[in-house]
């Protein structure tokens, strides 16, 4: 049955969010599982090593592929000397397809293929061929030996050199340029001014599982690909388009994904290489990207240069807000890091400009990494607010309170819910904000101590998403969707939603994810997964409830479902007695007018305490606390873990993470996990996370909003502001490493 058939049948409950949805079955459910800090349903599989990731599926007669990368940064391939390695024992073939191999990884959500064609080299490390052999060791050896001749070309590598040639990109998630009122005039006339340039370097998602594909062609000409993906439905479309197939001729399976953080939103070069090699050789081919290849040839977060100009009256009320950003990307790419996406609605201010321009460079593709826009934008905006607080002599929390907009300051529409001020107030009380001292004044031995805060804002999005729910005759619910769980907790929260609405304990709910043959879901990205996919499961369960009520001959509202029994009108019936044949229904949610009528976002406040060594400049994060308001929390434990992860990304961005590009060739110099400095256990204290109770009835029927990217938004700025408070040194060039602090530290 095609998906269209499912949707056109009477067994579908669809909802387009055109109106508020004030009531939710999750508030009236009797099972008592929603929101609870329940352990992950797939947890035992993960800790026992039995959860299967992309590269771990057995396949008969499997061959191993190792990718070959370009060692020049621009030009053309003149020759690949395949014959020299083809003769090595165990080597099966050197496979390439100049037209079809992916030059760039795909951007998330695109439904057509990314840039293809690898005869032309656009960046250092571009994947140009794959060596396939009987074993991994033979393939790796042959790939290393493979000689490639190039006709070198000219490229653009140095951001500084080409910054003046920046161009306005096409509008995407946000308008590239936007203006309201007279920002320059208002800034010039402002009583208090902050004008500062902040820079953030290229970053890498560095998910623990490298990108991997096992490609297997079936006798009917369809392709089965076990891969590591965040958005299966659109990834299937990208892969099909790249290979000249119809979407229904490609099936991706992605049941467990070892982290994504944006890097697995779209297909990466290994997928097409594996598919072509498998086709050519007539046997399954597995390709796991080497970690260095993940750095070189998937996706990075763009470096940014952000010029913040805040003009305020003497009391700190913002009259001019200017956020001009320069970012970088490859010549053929429309994506730009939407640096100012949160700036549009974070604070009041009548005169505003938020511009993005792109410097075209021959560097690895830039695309989405956790909280595209907010993550780096708020590292600058929230630090600039700290500077404005100091310039006006207003406490940073009070300054933000004074600039709290009553409604969206640009669209002039209400916020669906906005709890920034309560987040700041609760955090201040819990953290001991009142004990904050003047910058550089708290020295204990050779350590300078300080605390800082920053606000967190992250846009909330709803995406079209579908799921099928089956209530079986033996009283179990089976949830099926191509939604993914990349560590976010999807398996568990979907089980909780089904359990709460159908009155089933979680051991009677089975969730199947990541199979492209199941109803298409929103996928994991943009923090929309739980709300979008969760709403589709909710809607399906709502329909199941109605079917059960009909069987009982009662009004659904008068029926309570609990522990596998339906209770109404003083009758209690076991679901196993009520359901004589499986009830199979589909739920589907779609965004509607609500997102135009309200500005929807999640909010939070970060507080951080650091100590900085006055002699060496070493920074240690001593305490960090976040308070978040993101609608209904579906699982307190997995939600908290999401925030822990986001805050830690913030610590990394503030202190250590930086992709270093060689200005001579754009090459990523530190392309591994030893040289790209991720936060390790010893870098992260016992972080504290709190949620404010909230329901967003304008967002979706489950009243939840995004959490996964809220925790990173503003987190790095809280660290930076704490460092300033400790030392009196303002470093605007992230990451804040010892060398940048040293000159300003006391003798």
């Amino acid at each position: 049955m095609s998906l269209l058939d499912i949707f056109s049948s009477g067994d579908t409950r669809s909802l387009t969010m055109d109106e508020p949805h004030p009531s939710s079955l999750l508030d009236s459910g009797a099972q008592g599982v929603i929101g609870k800090p329940l352990p992950r349903v797939e947890g035992p599989l993960k800790v026992a090593g039995k959860a299967t990731y992309a590269a771990e599926y057995p396949a008969e007669n499997l061959a191993y592929g190792v990718l070959v990368r370009s060692t020049v940064s621009a030009g053309r391939i003149a020759a690949i000397h395949a014959d020299e390695v083809q003769a090595l024992p165990g080597v099966i073939a050197v496979v390439t397809d100049y037209d079809t191999f992916l030059r760039n990884a795909a951007q998330g959500g695109d439904t057509d293929a990314p840039v293809q064609g690898v005869e032309e080299i656009q960046y250092h490390g571009e994947i140009i061929a794959v060596v396939v052999a009987e074993t991994f060791e033979i393939a790796r050896d042959a790939a290393a030996r493979l000689r490639v001749d190039y006709e070198p070309g000219e490229g653009r590598y140095d951001f500084e050199r080409y910054r003046n040639e920046a161009e306005r990109p096409p509008d995407s998630q946000v308008e590239a340029h936007s203006q309201q009122g007279d920002p320059d005039g208002a800034f010039a006339a402002a009583a208090v001014k902050v004008s500062a340039v902040y820079t953030t370097p290229s970053q890498n998602s560095a998910a623990m599982e490298p990108h991997a594909s096992i490609a297997e062609w079936k006798e009917d000409g369809t392709l089965l690909l076990h891969g590591a993906y965040q958005m299966v439905a659109s990834d299937q479309q990208q892969l099909a388009d790249a290979l000249g197939l119809k979407a229904d001729q490609v099936r991706i399976i992605s049941r467990y994904v070892g982290g994504g953080f944006g890097s697995k939103l779209g297909i990466a070069p290994e997928s097409v290489a594996a598919a072509i090699a498998a086709k050519q050789l007539g046997r399954p081919v597995k390709i796991v990207m080497a970690r260095q290849q993940v750095f070189d040839a998937t996706v990075r977060r763009s470096n940014t240069e952000q010029h913040l100009k805040l003009g305020a009256d003497a009391d700190g009320r913002i009259v001019a807000l200017i956020h001009d950003s320069l970012v970088s990307n490859l010549p053929d790419e429309d994506f730009f890091e939407p640096v100012g996406i949160g700036t549009h609605f974070a604070y009041a201010g009548e005169n505003r400009r938020i511009n993005h321009d792109v410097v075209r460079l021959n560097r690895t593709l830039s695309g989405s990494m956790r909280a595209p826009g907010e993550a780096v934008g708020q590292m600058a905006l929230e630090a600039a607010l700290d500077e404005l607080a100091e310039a006006t002599g207003v406490d940073p929390i009070e300054l933000r309170r004074r600039n709290e907009p009553p409604q969206d300051p640009e669209k002039q529409i209400p916020f669906s819910s906005r709890a920034l001020v309560p987040c700041m107030e609760k955090g201040a009380a819990l953290f001991g904000w009142a004990d904050r001292k003047a910058p550089g004044s708290d020295r204990r031995g050779e350590w300078l101590h300080g605390i800082g805060m920053a606000a967190a804002v992250r846009s909330n999005m709803l995406q079209k998403s579908a799921a099928q729910v089956t209530l079986t005759t033996d009283g179990r619910a089976i949830v099926e969707t191509d939604m993914t769980d990349i560590g976010t907790g999807t398996y568990t929260i979907l089980a909780q939603i089904a359990g709460e609405t159908l009155g089933l304990p979680l051991d009677r709910v089975i969730v199947h994810l990541g199979d492209g043959k199941a109803p298409p879901a929103a996928g994991s990205g943009g923090s929309w997964g739980a709300a979008s996919s969760g709403s589709s499961v909710y809607l399906a369960c709502e329909l199941v409830r109605e079917r059960l009520a009909k069987k009982m001959g009662v009004d659904p509202a008068a029926m309570t479902l609990k522990d596998g029994r339906a209770i109404a009108e003083n009758r209690a019936v076991d679901l196993t007695d009520l359901v004589d044949e499986n009830i199979v229904v589909t739920g589907q949610i779609a965004p509607g007018k609500q997102e135009k009528l309200h500005t929807q976002a999640s909010y939070g406040a970060h507080f951080c305490a650091v100590k900085v060594n006055a002699v060496t400049g070493e920074v240690r994060v001593e305490r960090m606390l976040g308070v978040f308001a993101a609608g209904r929390v579906l699982n307190e434990q997995t939600a908290r873990s999401q925030c822990l992860g986001g805050m830690t990304f913030g610590i990394g961005a503030a202190l250590t993470e930086e992709l270093v590009h060689d200005p001579r060739n754009g090459k990523i110099v530190n392309r591994d996990m030893a040289e790209y400095h991720l936060p390790v256990n010893a870098d992260v204290p016992q972080l504290e996370v709190h949620f404010l109770p909230e329901r967003d009835i304008n967002a979706n029927p489950i009243h939840a909003k995004g959490i996964g990217e809220l925790g990173i938004s503003g987190a790095g700025a809280a660290v930076a502001n704490a460092i300033y408070n400790a030392t009196g040194v303002r470093v605007r060039d992230y990451p804040i490493t010892c060398d940048k602090l040293l000159a300003g530290l006391p003798d």
């Binding site: 797939e42 299967t52 623990m208 560590g487 434990q637 992260v684 204290p685």
Partner: protein, 168 residues
């Protein structure tokens, strides 16, 4: 070649270049140990060899024919979890789960090192090695978790260590 893994004897015909990690994952179907970097930088491949934790990607299979090797599959099963596995589930000491087998093997090996009195970089008194949060964090810093479950990992290990101390 012959290997003893999780108490079971395996025969395998592998390349002299095959790492202990690839032996397990690609030849024996033991895919619980993960490959995150293949360079000993991330710790996802951590196994216990003769009781000591090592990065299985950095050692060749051929060197371990007479060793007792324990992988995550040997610590416990889905139905019968090792106390450390159970603690990771209850404390949410993971998210995506990819670094998790390595974290758990590393934690088990690490507690044994502490029991033997081996100091770490943050140990104050070298003659009196005890476990606190700083010790756990320091000793677990060879296992990267990009999802950053670190606070929960510390909670899980602290709990298991306390229980072991009581029972010892």
């Amino acid at each position: 070649m012959h290997f003893t893994i999780n108490g079971q004897r395996y025969e395998a015909d592998v390349d002299i270049r095959t790492s202990l990690l690839d032996l397990a994952r690609e030849h024996l179907g033991l895919t619980g140990s993960k490959k995150g970097c293949d360079h000993g930088q991330c710790g996802a491949c951590t196994m216990l060899v003769n009781g000591r934790r090592i990065n299985a990607c950095l050692t060749l299979a051929v060197m371990h024919q007479d060793d007792e090797i324990v992988t995550i599959e040997g610590l416990g099963s889905v139905e019968n979890l090792h106390p450390m596995q159970d603690a990771f589930v209850r404390h949410d000491g993971y998210q995506c789960g990819y670094c998790t087998p390595g974290q758990i093997c590393s934690a088990v090996g690490m507690l044994d090192e502490v029991a033997k009195g081996w100091p770490s970089h943050v140990t104050g008194d070298l003659t009196d090695v005890s476990l606190d949060d700083a010790e756990i964090s320091e000793r677990m810093s060879g296992n990267i978790c990009r999802c950053a479950a670190y606070p929960n990992i510390v909670d899980a290990i602290r709990e298991v260590a306390a229980k072991e101390e009581v029972s010892a």
